[in-house]
């Protein structure tokens, strides 16, 4: 199942992260997981929430530019080589990974969850299912 990830543009200066976090807090929106990509000049905050449409509205109302992108939460074995096995399946299908990050809160029972941003999410879903690798539904990502 694909997830809607939100991303925000941040300038590389103090105080930039605080603003979106405060806006989300005021609306009672919980960040399930997030990742910050940074360059010397700017950063991109990517995150996942339960209700992305509402979060998007909240942030836009606060004057921010929000982009919604489809990402794929993949279950991997939480042991050495677990991620490598998933990556081999992805590579064998000739798919490119734009970026990925850990979904720590969703890790349980010897399994870890990793969020992947693929160039082509639909092709990735097909390749992962063909390789027997589980893609997690939203229910399994929510904190217990």
């Amino acid at each position: 199942m694909k997830l809607q990830q939100l991303s925000l543009f941040l300038e590389n200066r103090p105080g930039q992260l605080r603003e979106p976090c405060e806006a989300l807090a005021a609306a009672g929106i919980d960040l399930l997981t997030m990742s910050l990509a940074d360059t010397s000049q700017f950063g991109i905050l990517r995150f996942i929430v339960r209700d992305p449409e509402r979060a998007k509205q909240v942030l836009q109302d606060a004057g921010m530019i929000v982009r919604m992108t489809e990402v794929v939460p993949v279950e991997v074995d939480n042991e050495p080589g677990g991620l490598a096995r998933a990556l081999i399946a992805i590579e064998d299908a000739g798919l490119g990974v734009e970026y990925m990050y850990d979904f720590g809160a969703a890790s349980r029972g010897g399994k870890a969850a990793i969020v992947f941003r693929f160039e082509n999410p639909d092709a990735a879903l097909a390749a992962l299912s063909a390789a027997g690798i589980r893609v997690l539904p939203m229910e399994e990502l929510l904190p217990k």
């Binding site: 990830q5 543009f9 360059t39 991109i44 734009e98 970026y99």
Partner: protein, 440 residues
């Protein structure tokens, strides 16, 4: 003519018109004004149409004061008539073309007959003489050679003065310094910011500049405090030279050794100050936009050309003895144009470049700084929903495309910085487009 046995640094005969009694100068000006207006009226359809629209003919000019009745010429007139629409001579009589730098699409083209080039050399010689230069001086001409008028203007002026000219052109600081020391350079022509860069570099390389005496600096705005810095750090005397290619190039005006305002060569260029909003003529001493009329130009006379440079005519007689009136140093312009590294830039050109990449115009701001003597231009561009991506490489590619597009339009390299939405200051809904932080 200066003769072989004139003492260097003495009175130069070519400078004689600098000292004409005012009444005699006014007589020359009126006669030249009447004939140049006739020439423009006969040969420039644009000017003739405007004159007819105002019910004027060349015979309407009976006194110098009548100049205020004539229509203005503006920069866009030159663009609208690109390339040769304002030429008042057949091509057979035109011996040189120059063109403006850094304009969107088509440049502005200017033309010279041999007589025009002679006038240009003459005013450059008079400029150099006013700076205390003479035969025997070794001039390093570090203005760019090419379509830009700075290089060739200073070159032929220097030769006509009888000085030794080194046509080194701009750039290659290391070679500039080597030549300066090894050739015993006594005078230099370049932009003031480039000269600051040269003296910074000379310190590092321990270049001996002790023979250098005079600098003739122009093609960008600078200030008295910058002059002090140049003079203190290099021991030379720094002069401001004024000009614009539409009128002739450098040599419209020059600071004499008194360094208090720039003498305008009024026998060739008639100055007026007008209110930049209403176009109304302002009295001497009042600050306004400088308007120039070419009194002797043949290939492309311009009547009442709006320079957009803001200054004032100084009334008191100069201690140097010249009767030519002076203008105050030009600190700002009446439009939003700015000059960076000798290139004229309008914010609208930056807008064109941004539009080409993004399709719609993002909010942006231009920031000008001066780092180790060199002017830098940064363009801050607000990220819009249309161009924002969750991928770093796409944003970096966007940044790079914006930079390339601006460089393509302006011909100079700039730094592009992506900034957050609504992060740039807007005053009364309109963003402040240019922030000039250069300490001139």
């Amino acid at each position: 003519m200066s003769t072989w046995n004139d003492p260097p640094g003495g009175f130069h005969p070519i400078s004689a018109p600098d000292y004409l009694p005012r009444e005699q100068l006014a007589g020359i000006q009126l006669q030249r004004l009447q004939s140049v207006v006739s020439l423009a009226y006969d040969r420039q359809a644009l000017f003739r149409g405007r004159m007819e629209g105002l019910g004027l003919t060349p015979s309407s000019i009976a006194s110098l004061a009548d100049i205020a009745r004539l229509p203005f010429t503006v920069k866009t007139d030159l663009r609208d008539t690109y390339p040769f629409g304002l030429f008042a001579c057949p091509m057979e009589d035109i011996v040189r073309l120059h063109a403006s730098s850094g304009t969107t699409g088509k440049p502005i083209v200017v033309a010279y007959t041999q007589a025009d080039l002679d006038v240009w050399s003459e005013v450059m010689v008079r400029s150099f003489v006013a700076c205390g230069m003479h035969r025997g001086d070794v001039i390093q001409n570090a203005y760019g050679y090419g379509l830009f008028t700075g290089g060739l203007g200073a070159h032929y002026g220097g030769e006509a003065l009888g000085a030794t000219v080194i046509p080194i052109s701009g750039g290659n600081t290391e070679r500039q310094l080597m030549v300066m020391e090894d050739f015993g350079v006594t005078a230099i022509c370049c932009t003031p910011s480039y000269f600051l860069h040269l003296i910074e570099s000379a310190k590092d390389t321990k270049t001996d500049l002790s023979k250098l005496r005079v600098g003739v600096f122009g093609a960008e705005p600078w200030s008295d405090s910058m002059r002090e810095r140049i003079q203190d750090e290099s021991g030379i005397r720094a002069h401001d030279i004024y000009g614009l290619s539409e009128i002739i190039g450098p040599g419209v005006g020059i600071e004499c050794v008194e360094q208090r305002g720039l003498h305008i060569f009024e026998d060739h260029f008639y100055p007026e100050i007008v209110d930049s909003e209403t176009g109304e003529a302002l009295p001497d001493g009042a600050e306004g936009e400088l308007v120039l009329t070419t009194l002797s130009k043949q290939a492309m006379p311009l009547i009442r050309y709006r320079t957009r440079d803001v200054t004032a005519i100084m009334t008191e007689q100069c201690a140097c003895g010249r009767t030519l009136r002076r203008i105050r140093r030009i600190g700002r312009r009446s439009d939003d144009m700015f000059i960076i590294r000798g290139v004229n830039v309008f914010p609208s050109q930056v807008e064109t470049a941004l539009l080409r990449v993004e399709g719609t115009l993002p909010h942006y701001q231009i920031i000008l700084t001066r780092e180790v003597g060199l002017d830098q231009m940064e363009v801050k561009v607000e990220v819009t929903p249309e161009v924002f991506s969750d991928e770093i490489r796409k944003l970096e590619a966007l940044q790079q495309q914006l930079g390339a597009s601006i460089e393509n339009v302006l011909g100079i390299r700039v730094k592009v910085t992506l900034v957050g939405p609504r992060s740039l200051a807007r005053s009364e809904g309109k963003a402040r487009r240019v922030s000039d932080l250069r300490s001139l």
